[in-house]
Amino acid sequence: MQQSSNVSLNVNGTKHALELDNRTTLLDALREHLHLTGTKKGCDHGQCGACTVMVDGRRINSCLTLAVMHEGDEITTIEGYGRPGNLHPMQAAFVKHDGFQCGYCTPGQICSSIAVLQEIEADIPSHVTGDLTKKAKFTEAEIRERMSGNICRCGAYSNIVEAITEAARSRA
């Protein structure tokens, strides 16, 4: 059997047919093969969240999954959310609230933030959700807990929370 495989990925609405070494993570496929370098490699071990992307509508660590396991999956990276001049509301909120310093963790923070609001909306509980039989709320405590898989070594957390809180309010 072969140590490489064919896989078709649908990234930001565009289909890509690739032949990849089986070892290629989704992160490396995006960055090294499709040259979508918005998604960042931080720790490469699922601890920092810089590589967060959406796969079939859910945020995951793209460093901890193999590209060949995503045949036909719909993948959205930071490039798929907005571009200069046409920002996603979450991107605009990060700019407005200065939710970054060096910016390296920012694509992961923004993908994760967008997912956090969707997860609260979808009534997925978190560690700080009070009553499991009631719907989770868009509180600061919920946002902080749900963002704990995204590390910012510059420490822009308080501004990140402000940005997400504003984006949550403007959703309603």
Binding site: R23, G46, L66, S148, G149
Partner: protein, 316 residues
């Protein structure tokens, strides 16, 4: 990472058969632990069998009023399931206390049970580890042991099982359903699923070569108050120093399981029996055989204090 061949499994039977025919193979589901270990060359499979397409992602009622959770149900979906939230709250609470949102979206029920220890000496390939390289010795013993086990450990290994979910599953008397390469299936009570290390710490579960977990079942709900309290070095996204899972009834009877202290979710019959007499009585039974080091002796005390806090919370 070492090179490997890759296959998408078409059926449970063919996956189990392929695993038994390929000595160096591993099943891959969420992959969040396996790929991490493969990057470090702690796991070096020569063949991966992707089981994600097998449809084992359903949560359904069993005929005896319990719940059958497919092996591939993601941690997020299990925690958010309405029946789990209402009737097995301990399980929801334990799940959301573990990992991060991104990891829970990928991690599966079976994979969570089968995840490997986070002992730093298991991760450090420059050092001996009986779990990683059987017979090479344990470099954790005599090393930095603050995070490591205080009970159920052996002269060969003092690692802990890292799961939160498994602690809840243990308190809820979960049963693991499997399929073997010859097509037969069996049910393994969770108490017998994880092994204590003894002198073979690399053998971690009751699973045979090629045997695949297909589901986890829970008996019908037992009511009571469900509390999971995790004590850790930061408020979120960290492994437990200790965790306590408690189901307690109005009359004070109940069940308690503890995480972060042993090679498997730790539950002791005599401790359950002692629960109506309070935290100290139950703790005395739970930790009776503890053999902590100077670095992790605090965990023994922390179990008593956490149990007392949780019983107090249940009364409140």
């Amino acid at each position: 990472m070492r090179a490997f061949t890759f296959e998408r499994a078409r059926s449970i039977r063919s996956a189990a058969k392929s695993a038994s025919n390929n000595p160096g193979s591993k099943f891959i589901a969420g992959g969040t632990n396996l790929l991490d270990l493969m990057k470090l060359e702690i796991e070096v499979p020569t063949h991966l069998i992707d089981v994600n397409g097998l449809g084992l992602d359903k949560i359904e009622a069993t005929s005896d009023g319990g719940l059958r959770i497919g092996a591939l149900v993601r941690n997020t979906d299990l925690a958010a399931n309405d029946v789990v939230r209402r009737h097995y709250g301990l399980l929801s609470r334990a799940l959301v206390a573990g990992a991060s949102g991104q990891l829970r979206n990928k991690a599966t029920t079976a994979g969570n049970l089968l995840q490997r220890t986070r002992c730093p000496y298991f991760y450090d390939t420059a050092q001996p580890c009986n779990k990683r390289t059987p017979g090479s010795g344990c470099s954790a013993i005599g090393g930095v042991t603050r995070q490591l086990g205080v009970i159920g450990t052996s002269e060969a290994c003092i690692a802990t099982h890292p799961s939160d979910m498994a602690v809840a599953m243990r308190a809820l008397d979960a049963v693991i359903e499997t399929t073997r390469p010859d097509g037969t299936s069996r049910s393994i009570p969770i108490a017998e699923f994880h092994h204590l290390p003894g002198d073979v710490p690399h053998i971690e579960t009751a699973l045979e070569k090629g045997e695949m977990v297909t589901a986890v079942t829970l008996p019908k709900p037992i009511g009571g108050k469900h509390i999971y309290r995790k004590v850790r070095d930061r408020a979120s996204y960290a492994f437990a120093l200790v965790s306590v899972g408690l189901v307690i009834q109005a009359d004070g009877t109940g069940r308690v399981a503890v995480g972060g202290v042993a090679p498997k979710p730790w539950r002791v019959d005599a401790a359950d029996a002692a629960l109506p007499h309070g935290a100290k009585a139950a703790w005395t039974q739970l930790m009776a055989d503890a053999r902590p080091t100077d670095d992790n002796r605090f965990k023994v005390t922390l179990v008593e204090r956490t149990l007392a806090a949780v019983i107090e919370e249940a009364r409140g």
